[in-house]
């Protein structure tokens, strides 16, 4: 069981690296979806001893949301916007991947020092969660297409979700459900916003959203 968990966590790491290294938006969406499904499986594995109906139901729900519903919403937005590739990211892909590996190293060091009250289910869990969080943030700040930024937001939320699984397992069921609902509505609203952006500007490059500033030129 332990080895399986580790393998799944490595898969999560690989999806992050894939996201950092890929410029194709469709592939990024798929990677984020795969990550969501893997995390759903992980949620079931962790609670091995005390599986209950709500827990499994939630894990399935979260897997379906992140693996099917969110990608569907994002792909629809992508179709509307008609973009396939992230062109000219602020940080190149190769550098992003290597930065990602460095971030993973930092996350490992960091989590080795954190005094956890109870040991995490797997020693890899906290570092992978932190790494996922970093990757998401990195995607948000280093990519220009609105869809990629939303994907980054999802990845970041995945990281926080993993961290929650690792260290805060007492979080009540309803709260988790609420978080998932917020995430869903968030992606939905962002999808609509992307639709409007692509219609208004004929592109979804957020770095060109710069009309609003304090000093009028």
């Amino acid at each position: 069981m332990h080895s399986l968990m580790d393998t799944l966590l490595v898969v999560v790491v690989l999806t992050n690296l894939w996201l950092l290294g890929s410029g194709r938006i469709g592939a990024s969406i798929n990677a984020a979806a795969a990550q969501g499904v893997v995390l759903g499986v992980l949620a079931v594995l962790i609670e091995e001893g005390r599986l209950g109906v709500p827990l499994v139901a939630f894990a399935v729900l979260s897997g379906v949301m992140k693996g099917v519903v969110f990608p569907w919403l994002l792909r629809r937005a992508q179709r509307v916007a008609g973009v396939n590739r992230e062109i000219e990211p602020l940080v190149g892909y190769t550098v992003s991947v290597l930065a990602g590996v460095a971030a993973l190293g930092i996350a490992m060091r960091l989590s080795a020092r954190l005094p956890l009250p109870a040991p995490a289910p797997s020693a890899l869990m906290v570092p992978v969660a932190l790494f996922t969080l970093f990757s998401g943030l990195f995607l948000i700040v280093s990519r220009k297409k609105a869809i990629t930024q939303v994907t980054g937001y999802l990845v970041m939320e995945n990281g926080i979700y993993t961290l929650g699984m690792a260290i805060a397992r007492e979080e009540p069921f309803l709260v988790q459900l609420g978080v998932l609902l917020d995430l869903f509505v968030g992606v939905f609203v962002m999808g609509i916003a992307i639709f409007h952006i692509s219609r208004e500007f004929d592109h979804i490059d957020t770095d060109q959203l710069s009309a609003l500033k304090d000093t009028q030129s």
Partner: protein, 495 residues
Amino acid sequence: MSAALVIMPLAAGCAAFVARWRWLRQAILLAVTGAHAVLTACCWFTRREAAPGAWLALDAPGLLFLSITSLLALLAAVYSIGYLRRERESGHEDFEEGFVFANQPEAVFTGCLLVFLGTMSLVCVSRHFGVLWVAIEATTLASAPLIHFHRHHRSLEAAWKYLLICSVGIALALLGTYFLSVAVAGPDGAAPQLSVAVGAWAGKSAQGAWLRAAFICMLVGYGTKMGLAPMHTWLPDAHSEAPSLVSALLSGALLNCAFLALLRMSGVCGALGEGAFCGRLLAGFGLLSMGVAAVFIVAQRDFKRLLAYSSVEHMGILAFGAGIGLLAAGTGGAGGALLHAANHSTVKALLFLVAGNVIAAYKTKDIGSVRGMLRVQPASGVLWLAGIIAITGMPPFGVFVGKFMILKAAFDARLGWCAAVALGIMAVIFLCMTRAAAGMVFGDAPAGMARERELRATIVPPMALCALALVLGVCVPGALQQLIAAAVAALGGRP
């Protein structure tokens, strides 16, 4: 009761989405905001201690902020009737760049307004940090469509920035919530319920490092939503591009909701022995926000952005007051902050509503282009002048009282230099804002502008707010004083 406060607007919002007739939507909006206000008023008389394990319940700080929210929502609903009529009548030509745009369907606007009210009520009544997070994120999602009411590229940009910056920021607050549960977990790893009730935490212990990390995450997360510098970047854009009544709600009610979350977290940290740390951080961010706001106010030419930066300043003052309250209990900093929150909401909502009238008449947001409001829109002109005088902290308005209490608390806490810095910043802002307002209100009307007939629905709500600000300045009602004292106690401070 508290569940009804949340569910009623949410359900009504859904109904307004699908309601076909305008009169029906407006009836729903008015009836529900009215009923919400009445329910909130009832809560003043039936206050009792919340059950310890409850998820939704109203305590004193929640009631205070709920009352502000509810009042503003009602007035905004009244204002919206006039506002929407004006929007329908005027051509949809952008006055800055001259293109023609469409408006969001009114059904979406009304629906989102109601859902927004529901989610803000949820913030006020939630008793669990997880629920609180869910509610605050929900307010972001409900209000983002409102900012994009005028469907053009600037409002879209503002809405997108608001959506992304706040969502990412608030995600950090979720991280903070998890850290909190680690910090308070027992040796067996089991965490108690993350109640926001400070009393429930008295005598418990926590791991200091995790608790501080949790507070920092929440400060960044909810601070983003509250508009504390340097996380305030979404705020001026969103406030300047949103319809005026939405700006009023954002500034008067939404920012307060995030402040409430921060207050609750700092209260819990105080009970767990990290009060001084949180107090220093809050006061520091407060001063920084005031300073940043002053810098941008000095050279501001857009009066809605001016108001937005003024909000940043006042959020800074609130954080400063709350920080002083944590650093030196019993000096009245916390009470001052709560009173100031109420006053600021009242006056800032008044100003934003009047700003909507100014834009409707002058078709510009440029301070230099607005002249002679007293001749064109006498009522709005007077209200604008009163609002500006009030917001800069002049007596006899309530903002003065709140600011005075906070500064006095800072002096009592031997943080005189902080108070002096704050006072200096306030003086600069006072000069800039009154100069701008004087230029707008007095003087001759621009050529070709005659006196306008002002719609009653767009004048009565700001008038009511002005009266309220005046009352709060002359004498704070006993019930409010009691409520604030109870709120300070509930947040772990000494009144």
